[in-house]
Amino acid sequence: MTDPRVTGAARYAEDFELPGMLHARIARSPYPHARVLRVEAPPGCIALTPDDVRDLGRYGCQIQDSTVLAVDRVRFVGDPVAAVAAETEREAEEAVVLVDADYEELPAVLDAVEAAQPGAPLVHSEHEVSGGRAAYFALRPQPGTNVCHRFSIRHGDLDSGFAEADVVVEETFRTAAAHHAHMEPHACVARWQGDALEVWTGTQTPFNLREDLARVFSLPEEQIRVVCPPMGGSFGAKTFLRSEAIAAALARKAGRPVKLVLPRSEEWVTLNRHAATIELRLGARADGRLVAKEVSCYADTGAYADCGPGVAQKMGFAAPGPYRIPNVRVDSYCVYTNLPPNGAFRGYGQMQTAWASERAMDLLAEQLGLDPLELRLRNVLRDGDRYCTGETMHDVHFAECLEAAAEAIGWHHDRRGKGLSVILKGMQTPSRAAVAIEAEDDGAYVLRCATTEMGQGARGALTLLAAELLDVEPARIRFPDPDTAVVPYDTRTTSSRSTYMMGRALEVAAVDLKGSGGRRGYGEIVDEGGLDPDTGQGVASTHWHQGAAAAEVRLDGETGKLDVVRLHASIYAGRVVDRPAAELQTEGSMIMGLGTALYEEVVYRDGQVANPNLSDYPIPSFADLPERLTCDLIEREGAEIHGLGETALPPVPPAIGNALASLGVSPTDLPMTPESVVST
């Protein structure tokens, strides 16, 4: 085995070092909401305090609500108020506790539904929409409230739809905040050479990061270089600007490179997954035909929006589920609270609404006296159907995924203790990818593209595709770490888009290379689309990820403890590029879904994270895995590649919830802890 990740030779962002560099630590707010009266750094120490950053630009990928340090107000427990740099990590650690600050506490708001009400304390007084490329849809902040984006779908006539319904299900569902628990913490090194900034950082979003750094330091983007070593896991945590601006501002002040690696506990105040409350009403005819659906989503984005507006939008357009429903009304709100910021998390937005939507389908099946599989099959979208956004669906395999999943757990034999779910998941739209291929003198080819590696296997898949297109052994393909100074622009490595988008760009580049002397080829793919934020009409996704899950559970009725004995996912792959990696990605998503279903919750006490360590924040261990954990990746001759890095996560919690419901306990909230099960 020569995989550098196995031999230990791999060099991650955390391993990167420069001569003469200093080590940094961040001092953070102890209050959820307070006025900052005074911040003083220990004498004789290189430090950044609010006055050092007051004149720097604001940043934020969708809403420009962030400053490098909290300037006059802190907005969550953990909001950075100062940073120090020292010769060693240990000295930095000792110095940071000596940062002295005075605060005047302000009323805080810690719940998204309350925060969305008129009169709630405001986390931000205004919402300045970002002009950057990550603000890829029209934002609808609600002035004078904590709602920084509202996304709506208006399709058909809701009232007449419900008037036609023989049965209506109405329920409120909740999902908890969760943490990514990536193995490698956030790590970066910043260096200035005159007015040019270089940053080595574990990030999925090199170009979005560069754009935000340019705004902070008022530099042209070209004067900033972002290099991306492979990440030791991310799952969405390492997206957009995290702590890179603090390292860069410290480095500028110190006149030396600065390295910043977050201590594990600070990961829980850096980025988490949106907790959500989803109010849902679903109506059907007696034969099971869906006639109307109304959904309100509240996504708790914490103190800074990050990509929360995008999360709320995806929640909104995933909320109808993969069904034909003639009358749909959705309102999805991205809401500020005085909690740590929430952002991208494997399959973002989809998990929350899949939980609500797929639990509601089983509630409906129960009321109608229908087999939940049959109810779904009567309503799932088929090829050529139009979704409630108005777009026509193509290459549709929901029924097939469902039937395969049901078959895998012996659904037709006995349904007790078993549950199913099916989801549709959008891919980043609009979306752009580009790659340059360069021939080397030794017969090898170099791929220059911005696709980053976080353990998901994009490097492996793209290497295989390139080798096939160029007709060489995979070993002849070189794939250096993405460097914004030399790679063409790419939207970002998120939303399971890279193998599909960059794979298509590679095809174009290979043709270009062959047609232009064989030395250099360039390929670019641009997918247009997008939704009207007020009606939800347009193209939500140029390409839909489709998947179903099936679970069988055993319940200890006396303690409420749930054991998942069987878990299966059927995912539409179109065409599999790297089978072992694709299966591992799918199993990884399922295990993460299991954690979301049963264990994981960031617990806040008065706004403070109560479990910021891997002992108190429980992720599944191998001993927690179902007795049988399996997946199948459905392929079709001639079909296009479908990304699958996330698809198997969202359907897992509702499959498990529906299995539990078949035993007479009907859960509405995640995680399904034993205590919540006995009190349901």
Partner: protein
């Protein structure tokens, strides 16, 4: 402005260690370091000195016979895998085997888990149920303390500041014992409720761990021949359970009744 580094005291004999223990009240004893390490990393503890027992030979013995003698530096993993323990005290081996992960068990020690008095550790409740005693020594002399009197509250023991645990003795002979670890979350979690029960010579000892500051043992509720359901209910009523991330007080009360009953049913 680096702080002064703490002293690292590393005696090579037990006598030397006891002398240092008497002299340096400021020193925190380090055995396997799994607990102390966390406290230091979380800045809950910043001692001026550490007294390490790791360099003293002969403190990690495991010997069977009339009774089991465990050295204070015997690791959890050693107890778990010891043929002597597996043969004569299988429930004790099972208990040490469910603590955390192999990596932690290779480091954590028998003396450490008692001296830490962490409410959510597994072994103390089992040691109480088995009627184990700690041999405790200082420069002033030696005494034996039943484990139920050694741990007196949350992270609190009856050890004097100059004392060290030098051995743990577990009665031998015919007995039947069981440990049931109920986790409310993932498999590597600490217990929400840990029930240890032992029947010996017609007597019964039930100790419930992870629910209060010390293992909960009520001799008066362990009358021989009592019905498992009745003992479970009585324990649930007698205990005032803690609430933590693993479960509320009310939930723990419910689980205590169920798990005590199940432990006794399994013993029958």
């Amino acid at each position: 402005m680096p702080c002064e580094a703490p002293d690292w005291l590393a005696p090579e004999t037990l006598e030397e260690a006891l002398a240092l223990r008497a002299e340096r009240e400021d020193a925190t004893v380090v055995a396997g370091g799994t607990f102390v390490g966390i406290l230091v990393n979380q800045r809950l503890l910043a001692p001026t000195a550490f007294l390490s027992l790791g360099g003293i030979p002969g403190l990690n013995g495991i010997e069977g016979g009339e009774e089991l003698r465990l050295g204070p530096m015997a690791t959890h993993r050693a107890v778990e895998l010891s043929p002597v323990v597996r043969e004569g005290w299988p429930a004790l081996a099972d208990t040490f085997a469910v603590v955390a992960s192999p990596r932690v068990r290779n480091q954590a020690t028998v003396g450490g888990v008692l001296a830490d008095a962490d409410y959510a550790s597994d072994p103390p409740a089992m040691l109480v149920a088995l009627g184990a005693r700690a041999v405790v020594r200082s420069v002033r002399g030696e005494r034996e303390v039943p484990v139920e009197d050694l741990i007196v509250g949350y992270y609190e023991t009856s050890l004097a500041p100059d004392e060290l645990i030098v051995e743990v003795r577990v009665p031998g002979g015919r007995h039947r014992a069981i440990y049931r670890k109920f986790r409310s979350r993932s498999h590597e979690d600490r217990p929400c409720v840990g029930v240890a029960a032992c029947r010996r010579d017609g007597g019964l000892r039930v100790a419930v761990g992870a629910v209060a500051g010390r293992p909960q043992y009520f001799p008066e509720l362990c009358r021989t021949g009592s019905d498992p359901t009745e003992v479970g209910t009585a324990y649930a009523e007698a205990i005032d359970p803690i609430a933590d991330l693993g479960g509320s007080s009310e939930y723990r009360r419910r689980v205590i009744a169920v798990e005590v009953r199940r432990a006794l049913e399994e013993l029958e």
